[in-house]
């Protein structure tokens, strides 16, 4: 009986455990690094809202988060890649940002998807 309870608790704890992300250095192309800081801080804000963690050590994470800001003719392509520790991309999303104000709905959507 105790064994079963232990197994259930173990399974339950894994379900309730927060996902932990390590944000890789933002890849920039034609975009100032201030915007990398801006979008990274937004991700951290939304992590607190959506209940996952952003960790400072790569070894402690469950997934890696790669953000790319690539200048295009009209705006900036904001690309998020959720990667396993072996760098395999398991989910990605890209959206055009015409101005930095567009970061907010993009990060909100991504945060909801990866939580």
């Amino acid at each position: 009986m105790i064994r079963y309870i232990a197994i259930i608790l173990l399974l339950a704890s894994s379900l309730w455990a927060k996902k932990e992300y390590f944000i890789l250095p933002v890849q920039l192309q034609g975009v100032h690094e201030d915007y990398a800081e801006k979008i990274t801080s937004l991700v951290k804000e939304y992590a607190a809202i959506d209940g996952y963690a952003v960790v400072s050590k790569k070894e402690d994470c469950d997934y890696l988060l790669q953000i790319k800001l690539l200048r295009e003719e009209f705006g900036v392509a904001v690309i998020f890649e959720k990667r396993k520790k072996n760098d395999k991309v398991v989910w990605s999303y890209g959206h055009i940002a015409y101005t930095p104000n567009d970061f907010i709905p993009i990060v909100s959507h991504v945060s909801h998807e990866i939580k």
């Binding site: 100032h32 915007y35 801006k38 200048r71 392509a77 999303y93 890209g94 055009i96 015409y98 101005t99």
Partner: protein, 151 residues
């Protein structure tokens, strides 16, 4: 006359299966159109999707980057040019009228009960040119100044 009526009623019955043409507002054809997250058309210059359910979410993407998206809902009004099932012309053939009337009523009852209506025949996904032009001149390569701070 009867053939015309039969074709008319068949068109009414099949109207829910009709496709919806999708364009992008900037007129460019090199977007891919996604329907509910799945690729529907590889190009936007000649795209027709076949919506199902009560709503469909369309996105215009280029190189896997979403440029714009919109939800399209099934409305209570009919397609342009498609009249309702009650507009069958009178005829002297009683049997034809009875059969067609029954079919038409069944079709109407299936859709009108919960106000399902039809999807539009054509939609345009808005890619805001004004924003694009503003963005073209946005100083992304410069540091964030107090004027361009987000919050």
């Amino acid at each position: 006359m009867n053939r015309v009526l039969v074709l008319f009623v068949l068109s009414l019955l099949l109207v829910g299966c009709m496709g919806m043409k999708v364009r992008v507002s900037d007129g460019s054809g090199d977007y891919s159109i996604y329907k509910n997250g799945s690729l529907a058309c590889s190009r936007s210059d000649n795209c027709e999707v076949f919506p199902s359910g009560d709503a469909v979410y369309l996105e215009a993407r280029r190189n896997n980057v979403v440029y714009s998206g919109m939800a399209v809902y099934r409305g209570c009004s009919s397609y342009d040019g498609a009249s309702g099932p009650s507009s069958i012309s009178p005829t002297n053939d009683f049997l034809t009228v009875s059969v067609l009337g029954t079919l038409s009523f069944a079709s109407w009852a299936a859709t009108a009960g919960n106000c399902r209506g039809y999807f539009p025949r054509e939609v345009v996904i808005p890619v805001d040119l004004k924003d694009s032009l503003r963005a073209k001149n946005y100083p992304w390569d410069k540091p964030i100044t107090s004027q361009s701070r987000l919050r």
